[in-house]
């Protein structure tokens, strides 16, 4: 019953974005930009493509001279241990710059994989750096983005280090709900959970079996309701409390408050 991601056969999901608007909107929200700066960003050369679920947007270790932005769909950063155990390091959605590290350092030490079908834009690294050098505010915006990204990673570290399975999973769900809300992705109290239980395990450092049992408990206790690929949170305050969730680490500008449903 109630599968989380019963083959993300999309269709409705098939994305069509044709400009960097989503990215600019994101930077705008985080850092504020003048019209000049927005236009400069929108004028960046970018190569748009659609990538199927399961394929990679960015290959680990592979040197590239471009930097990838996510315009629609969901993706995840991940890396594996020598023994082949995979850890998901971040989840990305519309508007995210998935490999800013690439722009800054020239290498990525992680891969980025499509969780659903996605539209992406590849921006030449040089063009981005040039823009940053010319517009201090854009440099600052990119820096800010990297700092927020790091803040989220730290919270995940807390999650793995100090919380049990139940808390880890509910924390992840809270984060997804709030972030999707912020990116205007959720409708009527539903939000996407574009992950299989196996993948939730790869986020939370648990096995798929244990994820399954834990989610069942959450359902049984009436915290959440699950429907194909989507989820709704029945008792937001209770889930937030159980998860020890405090959205401050997301550094979203004030304005939206409380329940993301």
């Amino acid at each position: 019953m109630a599968s989380l991601a019963p083959q993300a056969r999309d269709g409705a999901m098939r994305p069509l974005a044709r400009s960097l608007l989503a990215v600019v909107a994101r930077l705008q929200r985080q850092s504020g930009l003048t019209d000049t700066e927005r236009d400069a960003l929108l004028a960046l050369p970018a190569h748009m493509t659609v990538i199927e679920r399961g394929d990679h947007l960015v290959q680990e270790g592979k040197a590239t001279d471009s930097c990838c932005a996510l315009l629609a769909g969901f993706a995840c950063r991940h890396r594996s241990t020598g023994a082949g155990q995979r850890q998901i390091l971040a989840i990305h959605m519309k508007g995210d710059l998935v490999d800013l590290q690439n722009a800054g350092l020239g290498t990525v030490d992680y891969g980025v994989q499509a969780l659903t079908a996605v539209t992406v834009a590849y921006i030449p690294r040089r063009a981005l750096l040039k823009l940053a050098a010319e517009h201090p505010a854009i440099a600052k915006a990119l820096w800010t983005d990297a700092l927020i990204d790091a803040s989220i990673t730290r919270e995940w570290l807390m999650n793995l280090g100090r919380r049990n399975a139940y808390q880890r999973i509910s924390h992840l769900l809270c984060e997804l709900a709030v972030r999707e809300n912020h990116a205007s992705l959720n409708d009527d109290g539903n939000f996407a959970v574009p992950l299989t239980q196996e993948q939730i395990g790869e986020v939370t450092g648990l096995t798929a079996v244990h994820v399954n049992r834990t989610i069942q408990r959450m359902r049984a206790e009436g915290f959440i309701r699950v429907a194909a690929q989507r989820m709704s949170i029945v008792d937001w305050p209770a889930l937030v409390a159980a998860a020890d969730f405090d959205r401050a680490y997301l550094h979203q500008p004030a304005g939206e408050n409380g329940v993301p449903s």
Copy 2:
């Protein structure tokens, strides 16, 4: 026997740095800077102080208009769950900018505590931002620093998510050894482990008791040797293999190779 940090009563440790040289050296190594840029950084207004072991360099949540650089000694970033469980998020040493987030976002969502007596420099946030706006290369250097910081956090995430106690602890030790080597802090194959076993637990998401048993095993197996606050690695390649350690994530410029002893 063989305590790891039997009261870091310092003395020999008491630091005296009077300039931002250590910080500039670090940025130089990572990003390269012209003489003009170096001079500009060194000319930054900065307030230097010594802070005792256990005291805080940066208070969680507290708004400040300055940004803290570590000139000598060791410190750690940390945050606690609602239930009061503490997680250490990063370990800092000579030359590290411990709250770049403060400069970029204007808030920190973590505290920074001295692990030994430390010398720090507080740099007015505005002065730093002004410099970054004037010198694109400095902006880029700060950005790069934030990216490397994030890369380390991601590796820690891997560590907690996918490795067992033995691997987590040895991975931490490998990282300390390599980073101290890079910051020219270790002598004759010894390196500082400025953490109590309790604190190692707070880094690795383990209890002090289990850390103790695991370290004893590592000693018994002849991988490491422990002496008050310092440690030496007997069989570096073996430890690296056991820890699944790959220094790439530290993004240290090429040059130094292999064993940090």
